[in-house]
């Protein structure tokens, strides 16, 4: 009797296989003896009515490494579950007895086990390098492909052949997957891989030689049943916590999108670009016009405005520009919640908390409230979150190309697009599996190319002190004051801006470079909104620091929370360095959003620790979460107040435009395009915006500017 743990168990469900089971055992025994140090073959006879049991029983008597389990006929999945439960091997190989795969292909599976980090599951595939399909009928191939597309779209993305009956599992993976199988039909392989993915197991494919058989289980007569099974799998194993998280996100996004769609297009920093788009002859003209400028190199920005202007067809300006704004906001929140990978109740609670941090953060308010006339900062945030999501997916050429395209689009739109590279690099350092070395090299080549074109070829340079006003300590300095104080040593001012930007995200202070709380305190009155902001930010920053301390001993591969903390820290620092020239809330929007990701990781740690903490410590932690979460929710609700105030201002700006232009002197572009200015103004005036006089007084105290 074999008592020690064999290296490999081969588990074979058998139903009336008398024609091939003997040959299978013979060939497999020979192959195993060559390839692995120790093995067993477990045949589960699922109530065969032919001589299958007799043949296997004879083999088992002759060789103790061959075991027979008999059971009344039920289903293949039940036989597999029983066989896997009885198997003792460190690796467990599920095989069909029909010899559709020659047994010498087993070596291909074992090759992957020799890697430094072997996968949890290796599946044979008829659609990978080295695979070969012999004797397959054309209609079976078509059915197989159609079914695979449905499976990839609905249940298990990225696997080109789920249905091959040869799969190898580590003992832990088999224990995690097989007891939970429920599908008895053709789609049981799909459920197997779906559950493996859900459990976070690493699944890899290996190409095999495969012989088609006319009496195989696959047939057209099965009709829609396998497809229905795939839908059943999705429903049965639905992730309720993820559904709740997406529902919460959808509600918050709908509220904010409603506000955005009631806001006119803004005048300042926007009308000039719309007029320029109306005068541009083509997208390429708009793109090309950005070359040769100084300070900024944003060719895709002008091209995007031109594209949307053309899409407006001379009438629907508000709908197109504000529609894109709302769509970007919804996309941003969707990508954010997707990046959190919510699976458990703890994940949901932390995600809910993080959502209030994201939408309550003043950088997000700065990002959402304005558009020039496209909200490019929000676009950059969407790009950064998209790359993070790709980095969390499975690596491949598609991911590499997508990341490079996103980076190129982002960096040609706004300088903040450089942070896409930082996200990708930090994700790779943190070990996110979707970010490959190949993809990172491609991105870096693009980065170097961009820097060369910008600084060497076009000499666009960087913004200087004379570009705009900027906050410093307790006040805002005009460009002449900045020149006077820092003209000879601008690096001091730049260092202040970097520090101020980091502190602003961590503590909501200073804002736009000005220490508002300190100034208010010196003036003898600190508004409630300042107290709420600083207290909420300081508490969550402390929580992040505490969580980072607990996660510091995470070993490879890093916990997903530790990965998020690493990426968030890198993005925050890089974002602050990019805003060295001047501090502005919306410039730090990406850093602010990644701060919210770090909060998610920190709250998860806090909840996990609360479960094993003493009662008093748990009560303190719960109170801190409740109070801080409440403060962030108040700040998040304030975004609605900000947006309606902004709508009132934009409408007023349009109202004042004719009189102001008359006083300041009309610009040629506005005279030539008077019809366009009138159309935009009439559209803005037609949108009712609530007068701040009717707001409750406390709203200004809690949420005011």
């Amino acid at each position: 009797m074999q008592t020690s743990t064999p290296f490999l168990s081969v588990v074979v469900p058998a139903l009336n296989e008398e024609g091939c089971i003997g040959a299978f055992i013979d060939q497999m025994r020979r192959e195993l003896s060559i390839l692995v140090p120790s093995w067993e073959i477990v045949v589960v006879d699922d109530g065969s009515t032919d001589r299958t049991e007799t043949i296997v029983a004879a083999e088992a008597r002759a060789d103790e490494r061959i075991r027979l389990i008999t059971r009344p006929h039920h289903s293949m999945v039940a036989a597999l579950q029983q066989g896997m439960a009885a198997a003792k091997g460190r690796w467990r190989f599920m095989a069909d007895a029909d010899l559709a795969m020659p047994v010498d292909n087993l070596g291909r599976f074992l090759t992957l086990l020799r890697a430094d980090h072997p996968p949890d599951i290796i599946i044979g595939t008829r659609r990978a390098a080295g695979s070969q399909r012999i004797g397959e009928r054309w209609w079976r191939h078509v059915v197989d492909r159609v079914f695979n597309y449905a499976v990839r779209a609905l249940a298990v993305s990225g696997i080109r052949d789920t249905q091959c009956g040869f799969k190898m599992f580590s003992a832990a993976a088999a224990d995690a997957v097989f007891p939970r199988l429920t599908i008895t039909g053709f789609a049981l392989d799909v459920e197997m891989l779906f559950l493996a993915r859900r459990a976070g197991l690493d699944v890899r494919e290996v190409g095999i030689v495969w012989h088609g058989r006319d009496d195989s289980r696959v047939g057209l007569c099965r009709g829609a049943a396998p497809f229905a099974d795939v839908l059943r799998i999705r429903w049965r194993w639905r992730n309720v916590y993820a559904i709740w998280a997406y529902a919460l996100t959808a509600i918050l996004a709908a509220g904010l999108a409603y506000d955005l769609l009631r806001m006119p297009i803004q005048v300042f920093d926007s009308l000039g670009d719309i007029l320029a788009a109306s005068q541009s002859r083509s997208l390429w003209d708009s793109f090309e016009s950005a070359f040769g400028g100084t300070g900024y190199f944003r060719p895709l920005r002008s091209a995007q405005i031109k594209a949307l202007f053309d899409l407006s067809s001379g009438r629907h300006y508000w709908l197109v520009f504000r529609g894109l704004h709302a769509a970007l906001l919804v996309g941003c929140l969707w990508l954010f919640i997707r990046a959190l990978r919510v699976k458990t109740a703890t994940d949901f609670a932390a995600a809910a908390f993080a959502l209030t941090v994201l939408t309550g953060m003043f950088t997000f308010r700065g990002t959402v409230q304005e558009a020039f006339p496209i909200n490019h900062f929000l676009e950059m945030l969407v790009c950064a979150l998209a790359v993070l999501n790709l980095a969390q997916s499975r690596a491949g050429w598609g991911v590499d190309v997508a990341v490079c395209v996103i980076f190129a689009a982002a960096v040609l739109t706004l300088e903040s697009g450089l942070l896409v590279w930082v996200v990708a690099f930090a994700a790779w350092v943190a070990g996110m599996r979707g970010m490959s070395r190949r993809g990172l090299i491609g991105l870096t080549v693009l980065l170097v190319g961009y820097l060369f074109v910008r600084f060497e070829f076009l000499t666009s340079g960087t913004p200087g002190l004379s570009e705009r006003s900027a906050g410093f300590l307790l006040s805002v300095l005009d460009p002449p004051e900045l020149q006077q104080r820092f003209g000879s040593q601008p690096h001091v001012f730049y260092a202040y801006n970097v520090m101020a930007s980091v502190l602003a995200v961590l503590f909501s202070e200073p804002q736009s470079g000005v220490f508002v709380a300190v100034r208010s305190w010196l003036q003898g009155h600190v508004p409630a909104r300042v107290i709420v902001s600083v207290a909420a930010s300081a508490t969550t920053t402390f929580l992040i620091a505490w969580a980072a301390w607990h996660l510091r001993r995470s070993r490879e591969p890093l916990d997903s929370g530790a990965q998020l903390l690493i990426v968030a820290a890198a993005v925050l620092v890089a974002n602050a360095m990019l805003s060295y020239a001047y501090t502005k809330d919306e410039i730090m929007s990406i850093g602010g959003a990644f701060y919210a990701l770090a909060v998610y990781a920190a709250v998860r740690v806090a909840i996990d620790r609360a479960g094993s903490a003493r009662l008093v410590a748990c009560a303190c932690l719960a109170t801190v979460l409740l109070v801080a979460g409440g403060a962030w929710a108040v700040r998040s609700a304030g975004l609605h107040h900000t947006l309606r105030l902004q709508a009132f201002r934009h409408r007023g700006d349009w109202a004042e435009l004719p009189a102001r232009r008359k006083a300041e002197g009309e610009r040629p572009a506005e005279v030539n395009r008077g019809w366009l200015v009138d159309a935009l103004r009439n559209s803005a005036l037609a949108m009712p915006a609530p007068n701040p006089y009717f707001y409750p007084r406390w709203a200004e105290q809690v949420w005011g500017d």
Binding site: A352, F353, A637, L685
Partner: protein
């Protein structure tokens, strides 16, 4: 599950509830006001009907311009409800109301639309 296990579970549940509750309440409030908006109530976007002078007194340039575009006479005298500008209701021209509210940009909108400020309205407070 033993008592210690149950205790751990309930503590984690309390922490989860504390973390999620504010966001859930925020979402509930959002659903409520979106539902109200669907029926025309717009709790966050109230639309109050104003006279031209009231809009000028409340510094609402957008509403002033909209009313002017609909043909409202910029030189007419319109009532202003109590509390908007003064404690009691008054009747003023839009220019007088804008001057009383100290909003030169509203005056500019009105003048651009054809308002003719009288000498008294430009030099004396309305009341």
């Amino acid at each position: 599950m033993g008592r210690a296990g149950v205790g751990r579970l309930s503590r984690a549940t309390a922490a989860r509830a504390s973390a999620a509750l504010p966001a859930v309440l925020l979402a509930a409030a959002t659903v409520t006001w979106l539902a109200a908006a669907a029926f025309g109530a717009h709790p966050f976007w109230p639309s109050e009907s104003l006279t031209l002078s009231e809009a000028a007194a409340l510094r609402d340039g957008g509403e002033v311009a909209r009313l002017l575009a609909t043909g409202v006479d910029p030189n007419g005298r319109y009532s202003i409800r109590g509390g908007f500008l003064y404690k009691d209701p008054v009747v003023l021209t839009p220019v007088e109301a804008a001057l009383a509210a100290d909003r030169p940009e509203i005056v500019a909108i009105l003048v651009h639309a054809g308002a003719t400020p009288s000498a008294t309205s430009m030099t004396q407070p309305p009341r």
